[in-house]
């Protein structure tokens, strides 16, 4: 404590909150400048993962500057006042660690994984680049080429990714989730120094950040180090409230076909606008998560039993739901038809299967099997504390609280079959859906 006071940090004297979630040694507290801290202990190996999550993602970007959140993420590996360009990563590597970063719709996160006694140095460098990057025009030009090649690699070279981009753009009428995280190419080409610095100065501040430290650490030690490095950075008093343009009522089912000669395996996908996990209000999301598992989670799921095994119309079928999201998310179904089955037949079979599932109600044995797997997943999760840390970071950066994260497993166990069917009835509104066919060129004429 004395060292951190000398360093100018006045730490909040909050007692640690121990997780009620079984055996996850989680401690959380908040620095005086508003930076939240999550510590997850695992003393089996002398390794630590240090992460800083910013509540700033692609959906927070100004109109016309798509991709700037991700562009800035790349630029944070350039120079600061005290570090040369590339020196942070080189220093991590010279200490036997590895580092990287990632950007999503709702957050941008930076991390290093390194021997536990290097935590002080990692915090020193990460705190430095929270406020002190120094970019050159050459950095901008070269790194813009790099992100364009990244878009080439991830998206332009991959018809499924291009199809997914069109699906999202059609799903969201007014929300920024309809714009790709990496950005639209024509806007990426125009990103400049001002775009990057403006985003940086607005969002990169301790009161907009979450520190997540996992591994062989003592929470008290993390508290002291965090105070020393992050606690001294003043909060940004002008941090804007996180308000985005929201979806209007969706009143028209949308359909699209994406044709590309590079498509080898056509498929049909359907997405629905869906509620996300909200602070203190996650019951619907828990029901939707179980719905996605029951419908399309694996070999025994309803869509696979029906379309793959019984009707032999599908090579695979699936469902997915991402509940961790600041604003409305999506629930998706897809069917990959077998040879000789058309996309229309596949779509019809999928719709019939979903209708039959709702009419029949949830099979209690199926639900119990999934709940058993979720309970076991909590045991397996303890083998990967970095995964536990990521779960907290993602949730806190997406508007949830520590309590929400800790209540989630019990909420999943408490969901009933009736609640799942009720959630399904609310979810599957054709007017809030997009149906997409990914096709080869030659099928256009069929």
């Amino acid at each position: 404590m004395i060292r951190s006071l000398v360093g100018g940090a006045a730490l909040a004297l909050m007692l640690p909150v121990w997780a009620s979630a079984e055996d996850e040694a989680v401690t959380t507290f908040t620095l005086d400048n508003g930076m939240e801290v999550v510590v997850v202990e695992d003393h089996r190996a002398p390794v630590v993962q240090h992460m800083v999550w910013y509540r700033a993602g692609s959906a927070d970007e100004p109109v016309g500057s798509s991709g700037v959140a991700h562009f800035l993420e790349h630029l944070l590996f350039k120079a600061t006042d005290t570090l040369a360009s590339g020196e942070l990563s080189a220093t991590v590597a010279a200490n036997g660690g590895r580092d990287n970063a990632f950007t999503s719709f709702d957050y941008t996160a930076y991390f290093q994984r390194v021997a536990a006694d290097r935590l002080d140095l990692m915090m020193q460098m990460e705190a430095d680049r929270m406020r002190n990057i120094r970019l050159t025009e050459r950095d901008i030009e070269t790194e813009r080429d790099v992100i364009l090649e990244e878009r080439n690699q991830r998206t332009e070279n991959n018809p499924r990714a291009l199809f997914g981009e069109q699906m999202r753009a059609a799903q969201y009428l007014n929300h920024r989730y309809g714009v790709p995280i990496i950005g639209w190419r024509h806007e990426m080409e125009e990103l400049d120094m001002d775009d990057a610095l403006s985003f940086y100065q607005t969002y990169y501040a301790p009161n907009n950040a979450i520190l997540v430290v996992t591994g062989d650490v003592d929470p008290e030690e993390v508290r002291v180090l965090a105070g020393k490095h992050y606690g001294v950075i003043p909060a940004n008093p002008d941090l804007p409230e996180r308000l985005r343009s929201q979806e209007p009522p969706q009143n028209a089912a949308r359909r699209l076909t994406y044709k590309d000669p590079r498509v080898a395996q056509p498929y049909v996908q359907r997405s629905y606008l869906a509620p996300e996990r909200n602070p203190g209000d996650q019951k619907t999301a828990a029901a939707l998560y179980l719905l996605s598992e029951l419908l399309g989670g694996g070999t025994t799921s309803y869509l696979n039993e029906t379309l793959q095994f019984d009707q032999k119309k599908a090579v695979y079928a699936g469902a997915s739901y991402g509940g961790v999201s600041l604003d409305n998310t999506t629930f998706s179904l897809f069917v990959v038809p077998t040879e000789g089955v058309s996309l229309q037949e596949a779509e019809d079979a999928m719709d019939q299967a979903v209708a039959d599932f709702i009419a029949a109600g949830v099979n209690e044995d199926d639900l119990e099997r999934i709940k058993m797997q979720l309970r076991a997943a909590q045991v397996y999760a303890r083998d990967n504390v970095d995964g536990i840390g990521n779960r907290y970071g993602r949730a806190l950066a997406s508007g949830l609280t520590v309590e929400d994260v800790q209540e989630w497993p019990d909420l999943l166990q408490a969901v009933t079959g009736e609640e799942i069917i009720a959630a399904a009835r609310d979810l599957f509104r054709p007017e809030a859906s997009v149906t997409g066919w990914l096709m080869r060129d030659e099928e256009v004429t069929q």
Binding site: S89, A94, E149, T338, D383
Partner: protein, 434 residues
Amino acid sequence: MRAFLTTCLVLLLALPAWAEVEIKEVTSPKGIKAWLVEDHSIPFTALELRFRGGTSLDAPDKRGAVYLMTGLIEEGAGDLDARAYARELEALAASFDYDASDDTVSISAQFLSENRDEVADLLRKTLHQPRFDIDAVERVRAQVLSGLRSDAKNPNDIAGLAFSQMAYGDHPYGANGKGTIESVSALTRDDIIAAYEGVFARDRLFVGAVGDITAEELGILLDQLLADFPETGAPIPGKADVTIDGGVSVVEFDTPQSVALFGQRGIDRHDPEFFAAYILNQIMGGGSLESRLMREVREERGLTYGVYSYLVPKDLASVYMGSVASGNDRIAEAITVVRDQWADIAENGVTQKELDDAKTYLTGAYPLRFDGNSRIASILAGMQMDDLPIDYIATRNEKVNAVTLEDVNRVAGELLDPEGLHFTVVGKPVGLEG
């Protein structure tokens, strides 16, 4: 800052971080050997079973049999058809993952302590009584064919296959381990059974186990799962002749970004110079932003999102490979920069600082690999396949540190062959002939 770092490095080298991983060799009552790391802090066990041979065991007219068989292992066993089997496995909350590569078929299992006996019964049934029901064969065959059709339109897969065909010719390594549309379409249930009988045998088995299990319990489990396999299986093919000529070949494919796979002859895992080559590769293109290739191709010129090189010491051949992807109008320049770096290091070597940085990275990063039961079980099986001693983990960093600048630069001169480096490019590259 520099002075501070120096102090840290000294401390790091003195850290016996890997001392945590205590490996025991276990021999079961019926003579099955395994390496075990006991750790009772979380109530589950990870078990890794590996069988040497892999898709290379396929006969020339049965390409894809081992791969399809591996996909069918989880599609029903004993009295359980595919659907009943999947329900049973889910109810136990265990996971069995199967993989077939060109040298190995592996089974990675993870199971809770509370129902270990039931899981063992199911896994035994899986391994010894697979049903290979006709409807399951047809369903999984359709999945494999769907995957093959997708691979045929994926620039990375197209490049990988073209490069393998060039480098290994008629050896099994030169063929696609998943088979071809024609060969997979023609496989019969008898072919699947023959593949099963060829793959699973005791003379090619390697086992790693980590977690909440004692040596005695593991011994009983090993006998239950593995002792009834036959002593030997299908013959493993001989070594491949690696034929790689320098130059560029282009596979035309209409896509905005060209993918280039490059390679030359490699170095055997047991070659006395392997550690020097391993460090050399770390400096060349080992994955970090600091590598020569990443610095010159990405950081300096913005020509790519990622460029890497990697040693590929397989059981039956060794090559040195790399990859880069750039827009069609920029790939020619990226290739030139890669070849220039290859030539520069071959001729001028690396610097003492590059060597020191690579060593501190490799030695510091090594203990960070041992971060989870499944991960460690996989490493234990891999060490045995590589014929490494059981105390290897404790001595590995010394071997890295013993490599001198002279060693690395001598190996660079001998190994790196800028003239013999071949680039297989898939895309519509501008300014490249091949």
